[in-house]
Symmetry: C2
Subunit: 471 residues, 2 copies
């Protein structure tokens, strides 16, 4: 056997490709191996097709505002579900093609096949054994589906199969109301399908504030049937699949399981690494280095289950790729937490969550968008935003929102929290009129009033006029 390779990357998803990018800058003695279809979860079955579906759904849903705007004929609009899905696939194919360029021209360095670890520096790929100085495990995740539900065959959908359907419904159940369940159930309902959604817990889309969660539940119920608080059970009945949850029963044509994702680690041979594995079979992975124990093995992305979000997977792959090629792993500062759910209004959590904060040291400011000037003009006047700050210093600690254009407000808050700004300092920036950012300002002023120097009058805390057209 020849000299060991510098590194082997297992998995060509977002994390694997980010690692590949760093590895290629440093060596040509590497392999990247991928099992199943190439193209990332994001581009193939995740972020991109779901957002494409959501954009169509929200464009169609907007017709409900038409009469109030003075636009006639909205009743004649219809969503052509097969055409909507066809566009999702067309654009998806284009995004996948873009992603796959990252592994073009790799020649023998790129292998389709299943990798199994034989130890910290040895990998079996479909029967052939390779040695490498380091290994990057970036095998990603897949949707969870209870074993017994597989009996429903092609009527049991996940994000892996949903976008492949020629048509859908008309009766759909969505089981699980985390980020993906909330996004898909609302999008499909807004496209005119009859959607019933089920959540075992009462918390939707990962929200931590109970009031915000209640507000979201009420908004979702405008588009769909929503049952929370009991596990969903499925059984075959005449005419479809019956989904029951406590006393509630609904019969549907298809069920979407949106019950979270499970890491792709079976058959990977993690037990050969000689490090402790938890009950799910996962080793401990340092979030700052992505290193497994003290091994020259790195595990970025969904596979480590830590923060299964695209931008975090890309960061983790980037770190893993650099560390896989370094003599000593470098510890990297991770970014300010940011999670966005692309339902309408958008949901976002930024920085520390309510549960992480000590109520005795925290003040919270809020704004509702029902009466916010710009939101009213645009007929997007729903939702609420909360900002949490340190009671003594006014430093912004976290925010949670279910608000129109919330994805953008969340980025502004993420920058402020990333820079450790105080509420007073953030109030020093310009807020243009009339914008939804003025709503955020109202919440910041609400915090400022509760701080020790709350009455300080300077330009930065220039108080509003207290009237919706100007605030």
């Amino acid at each position: 056997m020849s000299e060991p390779l510098d590194t082997i990357i297992i998995g060509a998803g977002t994390a694997g490709l980010a690692a590949l990018r760093e590895v290629r800058k440093r060596t040509s003695r590497f392999l990247i191996v991928n099992d199943g279809p190439w193209g990332t979860t994001c581009a193939r079955v995740g972020c991109m097709p779901s957002k494409t579906l959501i954009e169509a759904a929200n464009a169609f849903h907007r017709r409900h505002a038409f009469e109030e705007f003075g636009i006639r004929g909205g009743d004649a609009l219809s969503a052509d579900i097969p055409a909507v899905l066809q566009r999702v696939r067309a654009l998806r194919d284009d995004f996948v093609a873009g992603v796959m360029k990252a592994t073009d021209n790799l020649g023998h360095a790129s292998i389709s096949g299943r990798a199994t670890l034989l130890g910290p520096g040895t990998v079996d790929i479909d029967g052939k054994v390779y040695q490498a100085n380091s290994i990057v495990i970036a095998t990603g995740s897949r949707p969870k589906v209870p074993e017994e539900w597989l009996a429903f065959g092609d009527r049991m959908l996940t994000t892996d199969t949903l976008f492949e359907q020629a048509s859908l419904g008309p009766r759909i159940a969505v089981v699980g109301m985390g980020a993906i369940g909330v996004e898909l159930s609302q999008a499909l309902a807004r496209l005119g399908l009859q959607v019933a959604a089920f959540s075992t817990g009462d918390t939707l889309a990962g929200l931590s504030d109970p009031g915000l969660n209640e507000e979201l539940a009420a908004l979702l119920k405008k588009d769909m049937v929503l049952h929370t608080g009991e596990p969903a059970e499925l059984r075959e009945v005449a005419g479809g699949i019956e989904v029951s949850s406590g006393p509630n029963r609904v019969v549907v044509d298809q069920v979407i399981a949106a019950m979270g994702r499970t890491p792709n680690i079976e058959h990977l041979g993690l037990e050969t690494l000689g490090v402790p594995l938890d009950k799910r079979g996962l080793p401990q992975v340092d979030p700052k280095t992505l290193q497994v124990g003290n091994l020259r093995v790195f595990m970025p992305g969904d596979a480590n289950t830590q923060v299964p979000l695209l931008h975090e997977a890309a960061d983790e792959g980037h770190i893993a790729g650099m560390n896989a090629m370094a003599d000593t792993p470098t510890r990297f500062q991770r970014r300010t937490p940011l999670a966005i759910v692309f339902c309408d209004p958008n949901i976002a959590t930024v920085g520390q969550r309510l549960d992480d904060l000590d109520p005795a040291c925290t003040v919270t400011g809020t704004v509702g968008f029902a009466d916010q000037g710009r939101a009213r003009a645009a007929l997007y006047n729903h939702g609420r935003l909360l900002v949490h700050a340190d009671k003594t210093t006014g430093r912004l600690l976290g925010a949670e929102l279910c608000a129109p254009d919330g994805e953008h407000l969340a980025h502004l808050l993420a920058l402020a929290i990333h820079r450790e700004l105080t509420v007073q300092c953030l109030l020093g920036m310009p807020f243009y009129h009339p914008t939804l950012e003025e709503g955020l300002r109202t919440a910041l002023r609400d915090v400022a009033r509760q701080l020790p120097d709350g009455s300080a009058s300077d330009l930065a805390t220039c108080a509003g006029l207290g009237v919706p057209a100007l605030d």
Copy 2:
């Protein structure tokens, strides 16, 4: 005559009301006098009615994306112009009522009438003379219309009269393509009116980058006829008003003059203040104190013509109100410049403008949105964004954009510029996927590559994968 008042505020617009708020905290010995209708320019004839019109127009315009999304029946939609205008007025009335609450219950302290200065501490209000220790002049502005065009009577519209119309067009000319002209011409064109727009110069909406200006012109021409580079001339012809500009001629039913605004200073008696007046009749006003010369006279808002934007007028009124009640005026730091035009894609300029920057010390990064992932999914993939940074330090200096959801990107950039952040530092924040903020990140990375440490590889400058679905 009794003891002098503490202050007299002339004008109850945004600047006057912001001043009033500060004055009322400090004294009850004041007067606020307003000539003409109460309610601010913003609420009555400016920001709010225009944004309400724009939201209806963009909702209607979205139908052009319907077929591609898979939504059928868009051809049957129609804009009911009288109903659109009716909603604009209804919401406008509500915003005006909100604003007018600020002067409720003032009793004799609030006067409808025309104020004329008789000197730095003396004001005549409809024949009655008042003395005051200080005066706040916040008389605002009104649309400019060439004297001879008034002959066209009620077919010559401005923002003062546009929203009062029962209906419009169907043939409309918009003369002047600054912020207001661009917003209104596009909104009316998107509502189905035949719009011809004219600009004496080639610069639209105050853009300073020629490439961006060209891109905007091309986008606007999808909705309307646009002639630039020659002054517009009007004459009465059979069937309407003929607007000509160089070799171009169009006959319309109504003309909207959007040629800028002129301060309301005639008959105000500024000449009695004993300070030099410029050729427009305006005294010098210190932007940090709003003080006129060394007098106890303060002049905030549109009347001073410095930065005729609502958030600046509110700041100026706030400063003027405090300084009118102080022994010595305080100098206030003004906010980072931010201007937004609510056309689609939004236009914004943030921080220093291209003309203010020394090309030898500046690097510029750019991103186009035609191929940006989220913009494509949403069918909003138009426009471009530019960021300027110091060549040596990487500090963000300014940005200019014509981009989807640009109003939000502009706020993020405004915070970064306000905090004097470097491009590298801004790249350290999280950019969620898939968002338009990732487009901004592409432009930031474009700057970073041109900086001395452009090849630095750390999490903050974690390079993209170079594929649209992930960038």
